[in-house]
Amino acid sequence: MTETFVSYSLIAVYSAMAIYTLAFVLFAIDLARRSAESSDAAVAKTAGLATGAAGSSAVLAASGDAAGATTLTVSDSGSPRSPKYLRLAMSMTVLAWVLHVGAVVFRGVAANRVPWANMFEFTLTATALIVGVFLIVQFWQDLRFLGSFITGFSLLALGVGTSSFYVDVVPLPPSLQSVWLVIHVFVASLSTGFFALAAALSIVQLLQARREAGKALKLRFLDTLPPSERLETLAYRLTVVGFVMWTFTLIAGAVWAERAWGRYWGWDTKEVWTFIIWTIFAGYIHARATRGWRGSRSAWLAIVGFAAIIFNFTIVNLFFKGLHAYSGL
């Protein structure tokens, strides 16, 4: 029975990867479209609503299927062309994510426990959470332009996870048999989702700031994205949510460490890196209130913080000696 569910899980994750690839390509095409469009941006801006209205009536007149055409035009008010690649990319991401979540669930059913007890499972679940956060955040803000980053990142992580980190389902060692495995690891993975989006926003923010400073950049799609200050605000808000979760992860980890190892803090390598990451993001939050650090410098901190998370998950897990030796490899 276990093996059946394990294979369902793998089929689901491979299918999800295939569709993520499609979504990634579509997101990339959308960025290219934005670049092309930004060339006529000046025209579109001056013509403004008139062009939009004219465009939609033209579509209405030309197309026999009037209803379909109108919904397309209406849904993208103001823009002369509908971002159909973007919408398609988002649909693909949602589809891939559903399969991805299915893979996580099947893995959990197969193992009869939470599916995040070794590195393969962390990768599987954390990427599902990263994409999940990306999708849910869309209800709050239109951050679809980060799609290529998020799908690309998840695809890479899943690729490494399935090829290099894969282990069979084995029972939990006594040290992992704790309710804190459910809480501590889940919140840690979830905060990774927020930090990933914030890091992506910060990268775009840096590019945008360069463009605004008058540096010649070939990335013309930046014209269609929010100004750097807006990107910074969005990155900050996501980071803050991630930071609260990370603080909780740290404390929950300490509580668990006290139960399992007899001390709540012992400067184990993983504890050290969790602390380092916490400090970097604490620095990021303070940087925004410090003259001379707002803007690009604090953006770098957000990126360094996310890089430290990836380092903590990969290099520290695999090559550093410590008590968190649960990679299963």
Binding site: D168, V170, F248, G262, W273, T279
Partner: protein, 522 residues
């Protein structure tokens, strides 16, 4: 040479001691310095994760010293093996905390003042502020302002009337949360520093059927805190009745993997009745103000050694150190008295014996299914009489001669439970009487735990309120317009990050004008 230099110097005012002290204090408590120290702390924590630490990996440190003695000397100079208690790491975090306190104290005073102050005067031009909204109503100016004030109060704003306008402020909790967060961080540090000093940790190996008491003499190793005194040890004893591991037997990839460890114990606090209890990994036993953790286990074979006249000279369990996942273990037995010669034995225990292709024995499963104990026997001087302390888990063979084993005429002794074999040189015999299990228990008393937990909860609570409670000012002003109706203006000002400010103003304006309409209509 000197003259032009003195002339070119800018004449600075002399600061004096107090002046310099104030200058450094200002520098230290500035946000820029705090941020620098914070990031420096992150960087300073890195080396401790690259090099083994005495606190978390003492054996790693010993191995490192042996392998790279030159590098180790340099690392020792910079206290890298004890990074987190080193002078440089400590000075960074202490400076950071001083900076933090220096920043938080004046802010606390300022916040107290703000809590008692009236909301500020309504700005002359609300249209310049965020979320500026206007409405017109048939209600008169006084009614309009009164109902605005009432509505603001119901939304937990503090309000103040200024002419035909109301000024309101809310979200003082944001700053309170911020201050609580920082104060709680100081609390964590102080609790760890002081509370930890009163604690102690002790390690003890207990074999099935044996007991140990919570006293200094009975611990194998003991680490007292700075302020520890012997009276801190609660008088109790713990007897290990049995230890029951469960190993995976079905899933092929995981056969032999431990899935459960349970130690069944009987505890006795002096003057009270004995009680049965169990200790598991992740489920420590709370006893007499201490927590007792199950951190390791293995086998402790009981050997009975008899002399040439068949008189028992030794009969006790020896805890063997496991060296692999299937509990293949090394046993060291030292018998200084009773036989004609001092005897040392180096044993290998295989709980479930298998044979490798090389012919060597190995353990293939951690449970006790087909155990074998092999013994290499040494005779000579054990080095126990010269007063120096020796490691019970190592056998120094410098002054010993192998009398049974690979390099002697007699083959390595091989025993299964119940077997008795003769010792060489007509010394007597050795019997493998039984193979009970042992557990290694850690006893911790840490008075800092509870305060650290409480402060940690305050850290999270303070953080959440300081980041998510919006602090904002809102103004409502009313005036009669040219058509004789009342024109109401609404606007707000964010203090700190406030994503929903504009929505809050328009929502308020809508609610307020609705209230006015119903009032006028009725």
């Amino acid at each position: 040479m000197d003259a032009p230099e003195t002339q070119g110097k800018v004449q600075q005012p002399k600061l004096g001691f107090v002046g310099y002290a104030r200058f450094f204090w200002r520098q230290l408590t500035s946000m820029r310095t705090a941020l620098f120290l914070l990031l420096l702390l992150a960087v300073a924590a890195v080396p401790g994760s690259l090099v083994p630490q005495v606190s978390s990996d003492p054996n790693g440190v010993i191995a490192y010293r042996n392998n790279y003695p030159d590098t180790a000397a340099v690392l020792d100079f910079f206290q890298v093996f004890t990074t987190y208690t080193s002078v440089w790491f400590s000075s960074i975090y202490l400076l950071l905390f001083i900076s933090l306190i220096g920043c938080v104290l004046p802010r606390t005073k300022h916040h107290f003042d703000a809590l008692r102050a009236r909301p500020p005067k309504t700005p002359a031009r609300l249209s310049r502020l965020q979320g500026f909204t206007t409405e017109t109503t048939d209600a008169d100016v006084a009614t309009t302002i009164q109902s605005a004030q009432r509505l603001l109060r119901s939304q937990r704003y503090r309000t103040e009337l200024y002419g035909d306008s109301v000024s309101a402020e809310r979200g003082y909790l944001r700053e309170t949360g911020n201050l609580v967060f920082h104060a709680a961080l100081v609390g964590v540090l102080v609790a760890v520093g002081i509370g930890g000093g009163f604690g102690y940790t002790g390690q003890r190996v207990v074999v099935e059927g044996y007991a140990f008491s919570n006293s200094l003499a009975s611990y194998d190793s003991f680490n007292p805190g700075r302020f520890f005194s012997d009276e801190a040890l609660e008088p109790y004893s713990i007897a290990l009745d049995s230890f029951e591991p469960v190993y995976e037997q079905v899933i092929r990839e995981a056969i032999g993997q431990a899935i459960d460890f349970t130690a069944y114990v009987t505890t006795t606090i002096r003057g009270e009745e004995s009680q049965s209890a169990q200790i598991k990994v992740n489920e420590p036993l709370a006893l007499g103000g201490t927590s007792v953790y199950l951190l390791g286990n293995g086998y402790a074979p009981v050997l009975t050694v008899r002399d040439a006249d068949d008189a028992v000279v030794w009969s006790q369990p020896t805890a063997c150190l496991p060296f692999d996942a299937n509990l293949g273990s090394t046993c060291i037995i030292k018998i200084p008295d009773g036989l004609d010669q001092e005897i040392g034995m180096l044993g290998f225990l295989y709980p479930t014996t298998g044979t490798l292709s090389s012919g060597a024995l190995a353990s293939v499963y951690p449970d006790l299914i087909a155990p074998t104990l092999t013994l290499e026997v040494y005779a000579g001087d054990l080095g126990l009489d010269n007063g120096q302390s020796t490691n019970a888990y190592a056998l120094n063979t410098d002054s010993l001669e192998q009398i049974a084993g690979r390099t002697s005429d007699v083959e390595t002794l091989k025993l299964t439970p119940g077997d008795t074999v003769d010792l060489p040189n007509n010394l007597g015999s050795v019997e493998l009487t039984s193979i009970p299990r042992f557990v290694s228990l850690d006893v911790h008393h840490d008075p800092s735990q509870l305060p650290v937990l409480v402060f940690s909860i305050l850290v999270v609570a303070g953080l959440v309120t300081s980041l998510f409670v919006p602090r904002r000012r809102m103004w409502v002003s009313a005036a009669v317009d040219s058509s004789g109706r009342t024109r109401i203006e609404y606007a707000a000002l964010a203090r700190g990050d406030d994503p929903n400010l504009e929505a809050a103003v328009s929502e308020f304006a809508e609610k307020h004008s609705q209230q006015l309409t119903t009032k006028v209509g009725s």
